[in-house]
């Protein structure tokens, strides 16, 4: 243990960086329910999953018993270029809030993809390369995942085909150009390159696309090209495994200075960042070694944990992917046009859902304008312009710190700052102009959407 005063930023030494990823399922007595084949309603087999995903990744996806997976040296080498990410003590924010709480944030935005997505993108690209594939296909909405994957593929000299929701392709030209700079082929979806794309274009001329449609095109592109597989940036167990590097680094940094957190807060869309951040802490709780308050923060406009049900549902609107048991609002649920694109998902990672259902975690929903108010406060005092997604965690961290001010408690709050908002300035403009609103779906809306759950 290091007895020096706690610096503003705790950086691990290279030799302190995690050498293995942690699979929290190994410590769960009750495991998440298996993925089901949407046709047979039977658990997906290794063989079935291997038609879409790389083999090594399928193994990681299905393995519920192995607690640690070695991080291959090729991936560790790439991690060393942008990791360890700093665990920052928010001294300035604490002072501004005049709170007795200690606030820390794990900042994942100091890389060109601008978010934590790179942690899994580089792993998925590596296994694809190792398997001798020519390339990978994926979809992207806001563009963070597509950017991360483009960077990873450039590094391993792998072809990268990104189906980008057409309205984002047109409204976010900068994201598109970053991907192109890294050599990716970016196609607006729906395109005329795939059968499903042509079908949708014929049916809905002039459509600006959807994430569900882009997923369907990317999966089709993987299945119809020799040497290609499909990759996904969130929700899956393999992604949470790779993202455990966030939580492992956080825990090592805290332990190094003898800091015991009271609560750990993360924003939740598909659950990849949150799952990665909390998993070593949840592991300790599952093993009965420690107790933490783990908090998932979701947008009030898309409240899968706080207002959804725990049931088997489709992962995509096109209903071609396996069924997953998760907290869901129904695959037909269409979230309002929130600016936190990365959190607009109707469901939630199966692992996060199961941890929540077991009572290891709590969840809160927050409204958009309150989130941007927190984002602006944070930017002005801590310097970093946060992504709208990350700012959901900031909102709750500030609220908790202000509660401590009232009660006089010296709680230690850790939250995940998943990324930067440099490509989200339209959202900030809307807030700066006072033109941003809030939207909370009605009970009827959610009930209606949940009527379409598959019968399992």
């Amino acid at each position: 243990m290091d007895n020096r005063p706690i610096p503003y930023k705790i950086y691990l030494e290279e030799n302190e960086m995690p050498k293995q990823w942690y699979n929290v399922r190994a410590d769960m007595k009750k495991k998440p329910s298996p993925l089901l084949n949407p046709g047979t309603l039977k658990p997906m087999t290794e063989e079935e999953l291997s038609q879409v995903f790389c083999q090594e990744l399928v193994k990681q996806e299905l393995d519920e018993e192995t607690p640690y997976f070695d991080i291959p040296e090729e991936i560790a080498g790439f991690y060393r270029m942008y990791r360890p990410s700093p665990l920052v003590r928010a001294y300035c924010l604490e002072k501004k809030l005049d709170t007795p709480a200690h606030i820390y944030y794990k900042f994942e935005g100091n890389n060109t993809s601008g978010s934590h997505k790179l942690n899994s993108a580089i792993a998925q690209a590596y296994y694809a390369k190792k398997e001798g594939l020519k390339g990978v296909t994926t979809e992207t909405g806001a563009g963070q995942w597509g950017t991360a994957l483009s960077m990873a593929c450039a590094y391993f000299d792998l072809d990268c085909q990104v189906y980008m929701v057409k309205c984002s392709y047109e409204q976010k030209p900068f994201r598109r150009e970053v991907m192109r700079t890294y050599g990716a082929k970016v196609t607006p979806s729906p395109s005329m390159d795939t059968e499903i794309g042509r079908k949708i274009n014929a049916e809905f001329p002039g459509t600006t696309g959807s994430l569900g449609c882009a997923i369907s095109e990317a999966v089709e592109a993987a299945l119809t090209q020799e040497g290609y597989r499909y990759v996904l940036g969130s929700v899956l167990a393999q992604v949470l495994l790779h993202q455990s590097v966030i939580g492992l680094e956080t825990k090592t940094a805290l332990d190094k200075y003898g800091i015991k957190p009271d609560m750990i807060i993360g924003c939740a869309g598909g659950g990849s960042n949150l799952g990665g951040l909390i998993s070593p802490f949840a592991g300790e709780m599952l093993r009965g070694e420690a107790k933490y308050q783990l908090i998932a923060v979701e947008p009030a406009s898309c409240p899968s944990l706080t207002r959804g049900v725990y049931a088997y549902d489709f992962c995509d609107t096109g209903k071609v992917c396996p069924l997953q048991k998760m907290y869901t609002l129904g695959s037909n649920f269409i979230p309002s046009a929130s600016h936190a694109g990365g959190l607009r998902y109707h469901g939630m990672s199966a692992i996060v859902s199961e941890l929540y259902d077991q009572g290891l975690m709590e969840a809160r929903s927050v409204e958009q304008t309150a989130v941007f108010e927190a984002a602006q406060t944070f930017a002005r005092i801590e310097g970093i312009l946060p992504a709208p997604e990350s700012s959901h965690a900031i909102r709750v961290a500030i609220d908790e710190a202000l509660k401590c001010k009232e009660t006089g408690e010296h709680k230690t709050i850790v939250f995940g700052l998943t990324g930067t908002g440099y490509f989200d300035m339209y959202a900030y403009q809307s807030y700066n102009d006072g033109a941003m609103g809030d939207y909370i779906p009605s009970d009827e809306e959610i009930t209606r959407s949940l009527k379409n759950l598959p019968q399992v």
Copy 2:
């Protein structure tokens, strides 16, 4: 000295961070020539300068003898939020180039302003606040300096008025919104708020503005509002003093691992990054303690060091600022529309000019398409998407590493990576589309521009 293997990123501990800035003029036997009053052609006095600049900054500007200035604790506290910046060993780039050279880069882009400009912005805002001022005014072109100053002013709760060249204001809405998020008032220049702005608007209806005009408006705004001063992000000696933090950290990091660089490379616009990076090394050379190859890299489209003359000239096109002896292409020189906006300045810092004139430094000019080729290579292999300005240094670093490959020399190359290119995606788009060209001014063009030098 640390005997461990050299990590990918060398981070200093907080207690190893510089506690003082270094003033290279103190070690120069022949000093840079003084600023002259454009009316009297006599050296500017402390009193004259204090009408425009903060007093403490005027002292720093005029002091040629004091080698070290203490960094006030308030500034050091802000530095600790985003500094030390990493000195990165470019292992992956070395491998890709198959060079025996060792390449390091000092990366200044890991903060929301996206560049090194914040190092001086926070110092200038601090002194303004300490002097009891209400606010500061400045101009910005591409927007890096304006963003940095907005962040600094938000931190010290100081009013910030930015005159942004109108075409940039319209073409770079994201930069504008970042500044507004930090609470700055951003006005497109020429505006109707100032006398000079109204005059220019009347004379040239529909003009999209220029940096020279924006400077004039910002200076007028500072002079006509009680409690305001004007601040500038480059060229001045005070700015190079603050930016010495880059070079000091670099030197400490190198010394920590016993690394002796052979060459140090930086891009040069007004000279703030280059001057800051090289100053401790130039200091050693001036004191006869060491020898390095120092290289300034400028765009072929705006070659002040390589094709300009060393003479007194106006610092601004409006000719309201003091005269400075520097390498210049003439204040009427209009650089072609290069994408490296931060390097489109007709002159050069007086300190850098004098060091160059004394033969302590060499200079090279590089063409835009070659720069973007280097930028793309770097991005794909080292992960970071560099700013067009910074990529000038990358180009020469790669060229030197490739020379080492031919000769078999194991040179140690250090270059300054001043910032990221996230707000420069139109430039990358132009390169990605194969639509980017090169432009080199003719001898006649430069000779014509130099005819208007003031008679001193």
